[in-house]
């Protein structure tokens, strides 16, 4: 029983990161109809940016909440800028080309980011200082730390912020309009290109924040960390129904739980086989994901 609860807690924590990354995939797909392959690598860049902040500030251990917050904020801003820059340089010029061209370009960017960081870090792992509060909330067999709680709360806060942004602001509303119909949105006087860049900024920021949180939680980061996490998050975005933000959040948490339970009860070696098998099975039965899409294809 305690095992089960432990996996549940771990799964929720992982799910919180995954949901944040998945939201970026979903938003970006909504406005440009692109599976942003580089999104997982943007997440990786966020992890390295956060690492840079913590080492620059000389944080070595113990609780250092202001430094942690700074790392998350800087990580998010860095990826926001990187993500927007990528969109500007490699995606916007291809908006009117066939969709395959855009996708190939995204794969190229993904590979370039990975290889670039690999060369810069000499393919070595980096370790975050162990700053996350290790204090337990429960004493007993189930281990739940204040650090875990903080990460989950932070993700929830970010998702709530996104939700308010998308539903309550003019830009957010325009974004949803764009996801529905690009031409109609343009006719309504929406500056499509600017809005696309804003979407990339916001989506990448979420991924960056998730990257820092990942580093704090798992400690080890490396140039290749974005690939599998990105795939899992994208799986969540598809299962949640692309463009469907609440669906994506729920699916992100579900994938986190699947990952945690699969690792616990089966073996972590089979985790991804289970996740991708699930993806293929679900799409075979429900081509628009578990909760339905919120994007409109041309008639």
């Amino acid at each position: 029983m305690s095992e089960f609860v432990q996996y549940l807690v771990n799964g929720l924590t992982i799910g919180a990161f995954l949901a944040l990354i998945a939201l970026g995939y979903s938003m970006i797909y909504g406005v440009v109809r692109l599976i942003n392959f580089a999104h997982g690598d943007v997440f990786m860049i966020g992890a390295f940016a956060g690492y840079g902040v913590l080492t620059t500030l000389g944080v070595t251990g113990g609780s250092a909440w202001p430094a942690l917050l700074a790392a998350v904020v800087v990580g998010a801003l860095t990826t926001g800028v990187v993500g927007t820059g990528i969109a500007r340089a490699a995606y916007v010029p291809l908006l009117s080309s066939p969709r395959l061209a855009l996708l190939i370009s995204a794969i190229g960017v993904s590979l370039a980011l990975e290889e670039g960081v690999k060369d810069l870090t000499h393919a070595r792992f980096k370790s975050y200082p162990g700053v996350l509060d290790g204090g337990r909330i429960f004493s007993g067999t189930v281990r739940v730390t204040y650090g875990q709680l903080a990460l989950v709360l932070l993700s929830v806060a970010l998702m709530a912020g996104l939700w308010l942004f998308v539903t309550r602001t003019v830009t957010g509303t325009a974004m949803r309009a764009l996801a529905m119909d690009r031409d109609a949105a343009r006719l309504q006087g929406i500056n499509v290109e600017r809005l696309i860049l804003v979407t990339f900024f916001v989506g990448s920021m979420l991924a960056g924040a998730a990257g820092v949180m990942y580093g704090l939680y798992y400690v080890q980061i490396s140039f290749g960390m974005g690939f599998l996490i990105g795939l899992r998050a994208f799986t969540a975005a598809v299962l949640g129904g692309i463009g469907n933000l609440p669906g994506t959040m729920v699916a992100g948490v579900c994938i986190g739980l699947v990952q945690s339970f699969a690792a616990g009860y089966v073996s972590s070696r089979w985790t991804d086989v289970i996740i991708f098998g699930l993806l293929i099975a679900v799409l075979a039965l429900r081509p628009t994901g578990l909760f339905g899409e919120r994007v409109v294809e041309r008639a």
Binding site: Y29, R33, L34, I35, A90, P93, L94, S97, P98, R99, L100, A101, L103, I104, S105, I107, G108, V109, S110, L111, A112, E114, E115, G116, K118, D119, F227, L231, F234, T235, V238, R269, W270, D272, V273, I275, F276, G277, L279, I280, A281, L283, A284, P287, E297, A299
Partner: protein
């Protein structure tokens, strides 16, 4: 530059290119040193993989980011059979191909209904599943893979030298090249290119799109799998780390660099992919980065690839023999639609529609924008399922059939927003329309197909444009081409959705004359049209739709006098069509 390409177009070179290449390769095998000949062998392996993925991505346009899975399945099947069951290499070959083809069904089937972008993630996931599985299982040797695979023997001689292997690879490549060359001439290859261009339109004109897609996966996988045993024989081992996502990406790059659907392009791509990294060996660490940037630059600067596919020109008969179809003695209603209803969420787009069209009749459907006319067509042709109602064609119920079966039953259509296969030529577009009559896939277009293409092009007056890409036609010709494509099916009922939209008065007159000739063939024509004057002059019967309901039905004279119709039309003063209506009705 120009002159060089002109040289390439020389027919002697065009048809002699491959044999020439093989001869050069045969000679090259004699002079290259062991290192060079090994690299050349690897190029051939990638060329075989490239020819495989070219079917899936290049022809059918289905993105595959996990193609290395088929490479792996081929290699492991062959390796395991040789090691565990002591099978002979040559016996393992068909087993490897069959295993990969089966895997092609497994990955193809669930993805048939998916939106094309999702294919990327599903195929990638499939590739990872295969890779992780072979790494985890004991029988496949875990992370170490398979070792000690015996060398291949040909006629009692074992192939152990790099040069010997190169010749073996060359023989494999030549066979695959010939087979894919034959495949490229079949109707299936045309169907693939049509679904790549617009799978909805292809399905609507009679291409069994699911089967065609599945065949792309299966045949692509089968071709690619040949590289697996070859690679295992070359190395004597099967190493799971050679089937990663990066490998899949390299294979994809072979077609992207070379040019989608182009077999010479595959050769160029394979050379670039294999030889370039060898040339860059001194800067080993930056290879990945270099490739990534190369990819982006190629996509932005030359999206069609280095050696793009050129359309094969049809040799159409000079004059089409008269249509062989018997003058149909069909009487009564060919198309019978009853109680057709379609709801979108809360909106009822079509409500309880009844429609009849008899042989040789022109029946028109008019109504303001959003009245549900196109939705009715979509329901009749099976493109979207109706909420309720029946559709019968010559007495046979077709509701619930997939669009290509409805088309095969004798119902052809055009689209309001013209949907042609833009990258295909005019003649090829019409050829695709023939699938409604003849669904054979694995043979080249027959004489009957070519005659029909010629006849339909003559019929609409587009014969001179036969070899031009459809994407380059002027607007009016595009409309006529869409009609020609529909006529190629020799339909019993033809649905035309606003064929005169955007046409000038001269073009409209020509179109009316064309429609009259079509109905003269004994085809029932159902026409959606906003130009009321045109409708009234050409139709035998008219149905007026408003908010999805038929508010009037009858011969033109009755409709013109119907107060409800006048009220409905006059009730929308801003509608640009209103003036016309008042002019005609008033």
């Amino acid at each position: 530059m120009k002159a060089r390409f002109a040289l390439l177009r020389n027919p002697a070179l065009r048809h002699g290119g491959w044999p020439l290449l093989i001869v050069i390769a045969l000679a090259g095998g004699q002079v290259m040193d062991d290192y060079q000949v090994t690299v050349a062998g690897t190029i051939l392996i990638y060329a075989i993989l490239g020819l495989g993925i070219n079917i899936v991505v290049g022809y059918a346009g289905l993105l595959d980011l996990g193609f290395a899975a088929f490479f792996a399945i081929g290699a492991y099947t062959s390796g395991l059979l040789m090691l565990k069951l002591d099978w002979n290499f040559w016996l393992t070959l068909p087993a490897a191909v069959l295993a990969a083809a089966a895997a092609g069904v497994v990955i193809g089937y669930p993805t048939l209904r998916l939106r094309s972008d999702y294919l990327a993630i599903v195929t990638l996931g499939f590739g990872e599943i295969i890779r992780i599985t072979v790494v985890n299982l004991d029988v496949t040797g875990g992370p170490n893979g398979l070792t000690g695979i015996p060398p291949v023997s040909v006629g009692g001689r074992q192939i152990v030298t790099p040069a010997g292997f190169f010749y073996l690879a060359l023989a494999f490549f030549a066979v695959v090249l010939v087979l894919t060359g034959l495949l490229a001439r079949t109707r299936l290859a045309y169907a693939w290119r049509a679904i790549r261009s617009d799978d909805t339109a292809a399905e609507a004109v009679g291409v069994p799109s699911r089967r065609v897609k599945l065949l792309a996966y299966v045949l692509g996988a089968a071709v690619g799998a040949v590289a697996g045993p070859l690679n295992a024989a070359q190395l004597g081992t099967v190493d799971p780390s050679s089937f990663t996502f990066l490998t899949s990406l390299m294979i994809l790059l072979v077609v992207i660099i070379g040019g989608m659907g182009s077999r010479p392009g595959v050769m160029v791509g394979a050379i670039v992919i294999v030889a370039l990294p060898e040339a860059l060996r001194t800067v080993q660490e930056y290879r990945g980065l270099f490739f990534a940037l190369l990819l982006i630059v190629i996509v932005i600067l030359r999206p069609q690839g280095v050696w793009p596919a050129r359309p094969r020109r049809f040799r159409l008969p000079a004059r089409a023999p008269a249509e062989a179809r018997p003058a149909r003695a069909e009487t009564g209603a060919l198309l019978e639609v009853d109680g057709l209803t379609r709801e979108f969420g809360g909106v009822t787009a079509v409500a309880d529609l009844r429609l009849r069209a008899a042989a040789g009749q022109v029946v028109s459907v008019i109504g303001p924008n959003g009245a549900g006319k196109t939705t009715a067509f979509n329901c009749i042709t099976g493109l979207i399922p109706p909420s309720s109602g029946t559709v019968a064609l010559g007495g046979r119920r077709v509701r619930g059939l997939s669009p290509h079966r409805v088309a095969a039953a004798g119902l052809a259509r055009t689209f309001q927003s013209i949907r042609l296969f833009e990258e295909m030529t005019v003649a090829e577009n019409v050829l695709i329309g023939r699938f409604a009559r003849d669904r054979a896939l694995l043979r080249p277009p027959r004489r009957a197909d070519l005659d029909a293409v010629r006849r339909c092009l003559d019929f609409v007056g587009l014969a001179d444009a036969a070899d031009r890409p459809a994407g380059g036609l002027p607007y009016g010709d595009r409309r006529r081409l869409e009609i020609a494509r529909a006529l190629a099916a020799e339909p019993r009922v033809l649905l035309l959705d606003e064929p005169a939209a955007g046409a000038n008065p001269t073009e409209k007159r020509a179109l009316m004359e064309l429609i009259a000739r079509i109905s003269g063939l004994g085809t029932a024509v159902v026409l959606i049209e906003h130009d009321v004057a045109l409708v009234m002059s050409i139709s035998d019967r008219v149905t007026v739709l408003e908010h999805g309901r038929a508010i009037a039905e009858g011969p033109p004279a009755e409709i013109q006098a119907d107060p409800r119709v006048i009220a409905a039309y006059l009730g929308v003063p801003d509608d640009p069509e209103t003036d016309l209506v008042t002019e005609v009705l008033g």
